[in-house]
């Protein structure tokens, strides 16, 4: 099985120490987290983790099962890049003189859809959002023009065929879980797995 980029989406309780609980599941297996974002989710009081790792499907599936064993984790999903809409954001600090004096810089910023956030006499801060490759390309290009500071955010991602967590949360809140709570790759792909 080939390694590729996977986006893991977790719905969790918002309790102290969740990042630590989640991250040890990766570090114990010597798996690097490429990016990690935590934020509120569409469901009130439920936190959403977006984690990017480069691994095989089998490893990611097993990781998600282990993560779901954490008491405060409600659900773990994993998706390939074509199953999610995703973005990263970046901020660049460039000397204002360079921007005004060197035409290629302005062209670059325009080309990558970067917009100015702050303009000062000494420096200007631009921001852009997009896929990793676009951001990296702009960063590489700007490096030649006295890039003072650069920072990129973790990936945030929306799952294309997800209905959100509202309904699922209701099921979780019931003492007896509804059938749908248990996701199962076997039942969905029964004919492929079970042959007699």
């Amino acid at each position: 099985m080939e390694k590729q980029e996977y986006t893991i989406t977790l719905y969790t309780e918002n309790t102290i120490g969740m990042i630590g609980r989640i991250s040890t599941i990766f570090s114990r297996r010597k798996i690097n987290i490429e990016s990690l974002n935590t934020s509120p989710s569409e469901a009130e009081g439920i936190h959403r983790f977006t984690i990017v790792i480069h691994e095989t499907e089998e490893v990611v599936r097993k990781l998600c099962r282990q993560i779901e064993k954490q008491v405060e984790v409600l659900k773990a999903y994993y998706n390939t890049n074509d199953e999610v809409i995703w973005q990263e954001q970046a901020l660049y600090k460039v000397p204002t003189a360079v921007v005004t004096e060197k035409a290629p810089v302005e062209r670059l910023l325009r080309q990558y859809g970067a917009s100015a956030v702050v303009i000062r006499a000494d420096y200007t801060v631009f921001e852009t959002a997009g896929h990793r490759e676009e951001i990296d390309a702009l960063t590489d290009a700007l490096a030649e023009y006295s890039l003072i500071e650069f920072v990129r955010s973790a990936r945030i991602a929306i799952i294309k065929d997800s209905e959100g967590f509202h309904k699922k949360l209701k099921e979780f809140e019931e003492a007896e879980p509804a059938e749908e709570v248990v996701e199962n790759r076997y039942l969905n792909k029964q004919d492929k797995v079970f042959t007699m």
């Binding site: 969790t12 630590g20 097993k62 099962r65 779901e68």
Partner: protein, 583 residues
């Protein structure tokens, strides 16, 4: 609001009547929670940061039995032993800092062997957290990977809920250890006590996957069509209290069944369908025939590497049916053709209903034929040796004769453990207490103490090596003070035997630091007021064992056994189960 100050003399019933209008301390709330959860025994050790709880305990002494251990590691292993023989949650107290860090080995052991444990640790005052205060350690982060759940309480109001969740999580689903860390201010704090409500639902926690009928039906179809079906059973049967359901299942379908180390005693050893133990030092037939069966039915076990040997050569010819309560175990090591998620107490009866009555006589005979080979090549010499020196196997055989298989057998880790697991006879469930997954030397003695408190009417024999006993020998003091009637059977080969065996077989006999000297164990026992005896002659052995069992109270018997005896059969590391060596 009508409040009532709780004094030392306030009886428990008054607390309940006044619930909702009562002010009690966090410490009292801890003890009220334990009573409400039906706890009767605590293993613990006091210290600065847990002193308020111990102060409160002074007044609960009539309702909560506290066993003062000699080391916190001993405390948690005792809690594990208690949990294993009683089927209840083991409760352990320790103080902050070193008290809490001393629990870590036991937590890891309880985690990997799924023991329901609730540890309560004291912590420094909340305002001192993170200041490197005296006896402060970051217990929550240290124990996160080795607990099923942990939580730090800094406000007494949280105590009832935190403990209710702790007990619920520890004992439901796949059980495991939970640690609640309570800062000293929370223990001292008086708060409006609303009474104790047990927890039965946490929205983010699914202890039991839903049973899917479709899988049960698929599993039954596979089993009904099988010519050479084979069952592997683990501790899940014991934890799920599904011994009767399991027996009914294998008896109806006529399925030969082999135990993992942790599954031993779930099915009585003498059952006609019991074909022995799996694993590195398990029996010949179940290992070899794992790679010959057509349907492999795993019940409440997790395909540990000591069971499977080399994975890419493990049961490749078989369709695997895996019954487990923990979805993360399905497909983790061995791919399942049919996963039967759920509590085996529920899934096994469903399966039994659908399987057809069979008797796989020829297939079972195959097991018995290979068993004869093992008897001829290994077992006869081990149980009825011609050697001048004693063997561990003959000691266990005599023990079986004397106890009839009714004793609880607790073991430490190493050669004696494998010999005990191979040869001990078990008539009833919850009779085998051993450190399976973690392989914790030093587990045996304290676990045996706990095992006795969990089943005080049973004979508890702790079989321990000369190395392991020295790791937690201080717990003889606990026996001396509180009188647990533990029979301590030291099998002394004057070596760290299992490591020595590997050095002999795989490291060219380069015996590197396996030669261990021991004190005079009988004299040590005497120092603790425990009767004892040492034997090295065959003619004395049976009488000595009988004396140990008959003795009213704890007793230490040291048996000197052959120094360089090996445990066979053996699946060498990296080999397939079918490549098991008889010598």
């Amino acid at each position: 609001m009508n409040t009532l100050e709780i004094t030392k003399d306030t009886p428990h019933s008054t607390l309940e009547e006044q619930a909702g209008t009562t002010k009690i301390s966090g410490s009292q709330a801890v003890l009220e929670a334990l009573l409400a959860e039906g706890v009767d025994t605590i293993f613990g050790y006091p210290g600065g940061a847990i002193m308020p709880i111990y102060d409160a305990l002074y007044d609960y002494n009539d309702r909560l039995q506290h066993i003062l251990v000699r080391h916190e590691q001993g405390g948690i292993h005792a809690g594990q032993g208690y949990a294993r023989t009683s089927g209840r949650v083991g409760v352990v107290f320790a103080t902050s800092g070193p008290g809490a860090t001393n629990l870590v080995t036991g937590l890891a052991d309880a985690m990997i062997d799924s023991n329901p444990i609730v540890c309560i640790t004291g912590q420094v005052f909340a305002h001192l957290l993170g200041t490197d205060a005296f006896q402060e350690t970051d217990v929550i982060n240290i124990t996160t990977p080795v607990t099923k759940w942990n939580y730090q309480v800094t406000d007494a109001c949280e105590i009832p809920t935190a403990l209710a969740k702790a007990f619920h999580i520890a004992r439901t689903g796949r059980p495991g250890p939970v640690l609640i860390d309570i800062t000293k201010n929370a223990q001292l704090q008086l708060f409006e006590y609303q009474g104790y409500a047990k927890c039965n639902h946490i929205r983010s926690y699914r202890p039991k996957p839903i049973v899917r009928r479709a899988y049960v039906e698929q599993a039954a179809t596979l089993i009904n069509g099988a010519k050479k079906p084979f069952v592997l059973f683990g501790q899940g049967i014991i934890l799920g209290k599904a011994e009767a359901e399991f027996r009914a299942f294998i008896e109806k379908a006529g399925l030969p069944a082999a135990a993992t180390v942790m599954g031993l005693s779930a099915l009585e050893t003498d059952h006609p369908l019991h074909v022995g133990m799996l694993g590195m030092h398990g029996n010949y037939a179940p290992n070899v025939l794992t790679n010959a069966c057509d349907v492999l039915i795993a019940v409440g076990m997790r395909f540990d590497d000591r069971v499977t040997g080399r994975l890419d050569k493990y049961a490749k010819q078989a369709q695997v049916v895996h019954l487990d309560i923990d979805p993360a175990e399905i497909d983790k090591n061995v791919k399942a053709a049919v996963p039967v998620w759920g509590d085996c107490k529920e899934t096994l009866p469903l399966l039994t209903e659908l399987v057809e009555k069979r008797e796989h006589t020829d297939w079972l005979a195959h097991f018995r034929k290979l068993e004869q080979e093992e008897i001829k090549e290994v077992i006869t010499d081990e149980l009825n040796p011609k050697s001048a020196t004693l063997t561990m196997g003959e000691v266990v055989k005599l023990l079986n004769e004397l106890t009839g298989g009714d004793a609880v057998i607790v073991t430490d880790v190493g050669q004696h453990q494998m010999v005990a697991c191979r040869y001990a006879k078990f008539n009833q469930s919850k009779s085998n207490v051993t450190s399976g997954g973690l392989g914790t030397m030093g587990f045996g003695l304290p676990a045996a103490i706990g095992a006795w408190y969990g089943a005080p009417d049973r004979t508890v024999v702790a079989i321990i090596g000369d190395g392991g006993i020295q790791m937690t020998i201080q717990e003889l003091g606990t026996i001396m003070q509180f009188g647990a009637k533990v029979k301590i059977l030291i099998l002394n080969n004057e070596f760290l035997g299992m490591v020595r065996q590997w050095q002999q077989l795989f490291h060219d006999r380069r015996y590197s630091f396996v030669n261990i000297t021991s004190p005079d164990f009988v004299t040590v026992a005497k120092g603790y007021g425990i009767a004892g005896r040492s034997v090295s002659e065959r003619q004395e052995l049976k009488a000595a064992l009988a004396e140990m069992i008959a003795h009213d109270g704890s007793y230490l018997l040291e048996v000197m056994v052959g120094k360089e005896n090996n445990v066979f059969p053996m699946v060498p590391q990296g080999s397939s189960v079918a490549e098991i060596r008889l010598k």
